[in-house]
């Protein structure tokens, strides 16, 4: 199909009469669907619920920390609450969020394919997610799991609380994650449309590809690790129990071998989203396409060699500390490359300042600040003071919330018309975006300072000198929560009453916009042949100005 026709089409937008949303009807048709788009939508609903739950837990924690003593809950409740917050946010929201929702929905569209390689496995991964999520949540709420999401042995194996269900849940969620990753890798290898070489892939696809590699390689290890902890807890096998000669530090090695790369499972798709969205809203070829693509793979690779920087004060050897620290610096360089390229993509663009742009601006600040404080905590001598304090909390929330959730919101706003064919209210979008960026800063910058002052993480009560900063952080959190509520309201409104968006409201050149919005059941009504690069914003026959910087 010729893209230029589409760009010059000025007729009023029409909502496609038959699309994947209404091709089949009834709940059953959704539950048994093997359509990647519907699976993506179901993931969207699921992770939003998980995010809401995790957010409620977070607010409860922040309210509890308003005063140095007990405020609204007991110590045990607090300990369970931060465990719930961590497990729900990481395993139920962060890891499946962007790959599960946008990966599923967009990957085949971006490849010009009719579906992912294994559609049934894809549905299976959603069911595994639901099963794992249910088991983990019920287990945590009924069993009162209080170990934190890190499950450090021997505390986890000696706590009187029930632990096995949540570990089983995480094991199953791991399976879901592996299946998704495997499916995506095979899809990218085999289902690219004619004409789409590897160097024509959209950057989001590259990011998902790198993410999937990590999912496939790292997740089995966490699966085994949580299984071992579960067996040890139930059966007393003594593998991590020092009273029986076991080594608790071994647990930490195995745990972080997954959980450090898991950070990149969360953040790489976010980077992919931003790469694509920046190009679309700046109407410009991505600056340094290859550098961005390869740095995704580089992060995926080097990310595996950096896990020991979570263990600087754990009793690990100084030699290992140094080795892991220096490798961690390389991850920073790859991220820095991406940041330079994003900013340079904006340079001399034709930028349409829309809601996603506010998030992109926030994202750029957060990822640089979050990333460089990551480098700071990987600087061994500094980590000694910061380790397990609120500084670390603030650092990874800058990445997890500041980068990943911003990217999730960018994706949600950028691809909302693609998914539902309707437009949200731009004004409210801007208001919510500004609130969230401000609220985020107000929440987490005080936490950096708390960490400097020496407040350790997972503290139910704290010395009085930390109160002022805690109150500031809680105030910021309520601003943040308020922003999310606005988004929820206007998006639900847009779903029902929103203006019809048209097939390509942003005039984006991404391949996913080559079909109708929302797309038909089998994605494309016409054979797809790719005859241009993915972020190619030149009109055919247009004089191209080349600038070297």
């Amino acid at each position: 199909m010729s893209q230029s026709n589409q760009l010059h089409d000025d007729s009023p937008p029409v909502y496609p009469a038959v699309n994947y949303l209404n091709a089949d009807r009834g709940v059953w048709s959704w539950l048994t669907t093997i359509d990647h788009k519907r699976i993506g939508i179901m993931y969207l609903v699921s992770v939003m619920i998980a995010f809401l739950l995790g957010g409620i837990f977070a607010m409860a924690l922040r309210v509890e920390l308003l005063t140095p003593g007990p405020t609204i809950m007991g110590a045990n409740t607090y300990n369970r609450m931060f465990t719930l917050h961590g497990v729900v946010m990481i395993f139920l929201f962060m890891i499946p969020a962007i790959p599960g929702v946008f990966g599923n929905f967009l990957l085949p569209l971006m490849l010009g394919a009719k579906d992912v390689a294994f559609p049934k496995l894809n549905l299976l991964s959603l069911y595994l997610y639901w099963t794992g999520a249910t088991i983990a949540l019920c287990g945590m709420i009924m069993g009162g799991t209080d170990t934190g999401w890190t499950f450090y042995a021997p505390y986890s194996t000696s706590t009187p609380m029930t632990l096995f269900p949540v570990l089983l849940g995480i094991f199953i969620l791991g399976f879901s994650s592996i299946v998704t990753g495997l499916n995506f890798i095979v899809t990218i290898h085999t289902l690219r449309a004619p004409g789409m070489g590897w160097m024509r892939l959209q950057l989001f696809v590259w990011a998902i590809y790198a993410t999937s590699i990590i999912q496939v390689l790292a997740t089995p290890v966490i699966g085994l690790t949580v299984l071992l902890v579960g067996i040890e807890k139930v059966g007393g096998f003594g593998l991590f129990d020092p009273t029986r000669g076991g080594d608790p530090v071994l647990f930490q090695h195995m745990f972080w071998f997954y959980s450090h790369p898991a950070v990149y499972i969360m953040v790489l798709p976010a980077m992919g989203v931003v790469s694509d969205a920046i190009a679309a809203f700046a109407r410009k070829n991505v600056f340094g396409y290859k550098m961005i693509a390869y740095s995704s793979l580089g992060i995926a690779f080097v990310g595996f060699f950096a896990w020991g920087h979570h263990m600087f004060v754990s009793g690990q050897s100084s030699f290992n500390d140094g080795a892991f620290a220096v490798i961690s610096m390389l991850v920073g360089v790859f991220t820095a490359i991406k940041v330079f390229n994003w900013v340079a993509t904006l340079y001399r663009g034709a930028i349409a300042v829309k809601t996603p742009l506010i998030y992109i601006c926030g994202f750029l600040f957060f990822i640089v600040f979050g990333g460089m404080t990551g480098i700071a905590v990987a600087t061994v001598s500094l980590d000694v003071h910061w380790h397990d304090t609120y500084f670390v909390i603030a650092h990874f929330h800058f990445i997890m919330v500041g980068a990943v959730i911003m990217a999730f919101l960018i994706a949600l706003h950028y691809w909302f018309p693609k998914m539902f064919g309707r437009m949200y209210h731009e004004g409210w979008g801007m208001v919510a975006a500004s609130l969230i960026v401000l609220g985020f800063n107000a929440t987490f910058i005080p936490q950096f300072l708390l960490g400097n002052a020496g407040m350790p993480r997972r503290y139910y009560m704290y010395p009085e000198r930390y109160q002022a900063l805690n109150v500031a952080s809680t105030a910021g959190a309520s601003l943040l929560a308020f922003g999310f509520i606005i988004i929820l309201i206007y998006l639900i409104y847009a779903l029902v009453r929103g203006k019809v968006a048209g097939d390509n409201p942003w005039n984006s050149r991404g391949y996913e916009w080559m079909t109708t919005s929302p797309p038909p059941k089998h994605n494309f009504d016409h054979p797809v042949i790719i005859d241009r690069d993915s972020h190619d914003y030149q009109e055919p026959g247009e004089e191209v100005e080349h600038v070297v910087i």
Partner: protein, 355 residues
């Protein structure tokens, strides 16, 4: 320079640097964080600036193809890498210094346990719970182990932290630069009262410390260090008041609040319980028994425990004793699942000889 350091320290809410290690750490910290703030602000502002400078001026406006030159690629890879490696080199250098205790350091053995710190000075030296006395301007090495789970020994003023592992020793050292009292916090999550596992380091001038240790050795000052200073009068519920007294008087150092037997019986579910005494009698734990036990602890010892509790006669005013009783009464199993509590089996390992 020091004025600037002090300004930075205040801006960043850092506590004052009170150990020899804290000084280089803070210097590097200021350097790293300044660069971080500059870089992230520039990135954010630059994006914001571009939004206006290069905003879309007409629909479907065409844009140039901007490509990186070799020089640009070199700069974007080289500059961050230079800074990161510089920080790594300096940080690792300081770290190696920090992980290599000087040979002449005074050794103190640290035992962590839910939720207290115990210090012993080796040989016939004194033991202390909750409070560590050290000399100023002399290196002190801590050899640490845990009786149950992983804890972490953290002194914000000294910028030091080290996990304390069960079943093995870890070490850390510091040289305090100024006499004073500094807080010890546990920073590795270790259960219900993780957030209350505090202790105190009392740094004394060298000669004073020498005097102190001699006195301790003589046994003249065989008192229990209570840790924490006596604050102003307490406003709050009687249960909270009782809790504060329990913390201040060091009750919780022998009586656990989580059902685990320690040096004394646990306080969890204690009130109303039938206890068998040393002499075979049974007694119902009520207000009278609790108050009696504070004043005359050796009168009615619960079977299986040693008569080691000192009398609190004269150390507790009547309202304080009552508050304590109320606090004990408030400790009911509703938050904690009931499980057979078990004593930690692990005994400290014998330390390896100094190399």
């Amino acid at each position: 320079m020091t004025a600037l350091d002090d300004l930075m320290r205040r801006l960043l809410f850092l506590p004052e640097a009170r150990s020899t290690f804290a000084v280089p750490v803070d210097r590097l910290h200021f350097f790293v964080i300044t660069v971080t703030m500059i870089a992230s602000t520039i990135t954010g502002l630059m994006a914001f600036f571009f939004f206006f400078k290069y905003r879309e001026r007409r629909p479907k406006q065409s844009t140039p193809v901007v490509v990186p030159s070799m020089r640009f690629e070199f700069v974007v890879i080289g500059v961050p890498l230079f800074f990161f490696l510089l920080w790594f080199v300096q940080g690792f250098k300081d770290y190696v210094w920090y992980t290599t205790p000087p040979k002449n350091a005074t050794d103190v053995y640290v035992m962590a346990k839910k939720w207290m710190w115990k210090f012993s000075y080796g040989g016939d030296g004194p033991n202390a719970i909750g409070t560590l006395h050290v000399p100023a301007n002399r290196p002190v090495r801590l050899l640490m182990t845990s009786r149950d789970v992983i804890h972490s020994f953290f002194v914000p003023d000294f910028r030091i932290k080290q996990d304390v592992l069960p079943g093995r020793y870890t070490e850390t050292w510091f040289e305090a630069t100024k006499p004073g009292r500094y807080q010890i916090l546990c920073s590795q999550y270790c259960g219900t009262w993780h957030s209350q596992m505090w202790g105190e380091i009392v740094v004394m001038p060298g000669p004073e410390y020498d005097q102190w240790i001699i006195e301790q050795r003589r046994g003249l000052a065989a008192r229990v260090d209570t840790g924490g200073d006596d604050g102003p009068s307490f406003h709050g519920s009687i249960v909270e008041y009782g809790k504060k007294i329990a913390m201040d008087q060091g009750c919780v150092k022998c009586h656990s609040l989580d059902g685990e037997p320690h040096i004394g019986p646990t306080w969890l579910d204690l009130y109303g319980k039938q206890e068998t005494l040393e002499n075979g009698e049974t007694v119902t734990v009520d207000e009278a028994y609790l108050t009696d036990s504070m004043i005359d602890p050796r009168g009615k010892i619960v079977k299986g425990f040693k008569a080691v509790m000192p009398t609190y006669k004269g150390r507790l005013a009547a309202p304080e004793a009552a508050a304590l009783v109320e606090f004990i009464k408030s400790l009911r199993t509703q938050n904690l699942d009931t499980v057979p509590s078990k004593e930690a089996i692990y005994e400290p390992v014998k330390p390896a000889p100094r190399r």
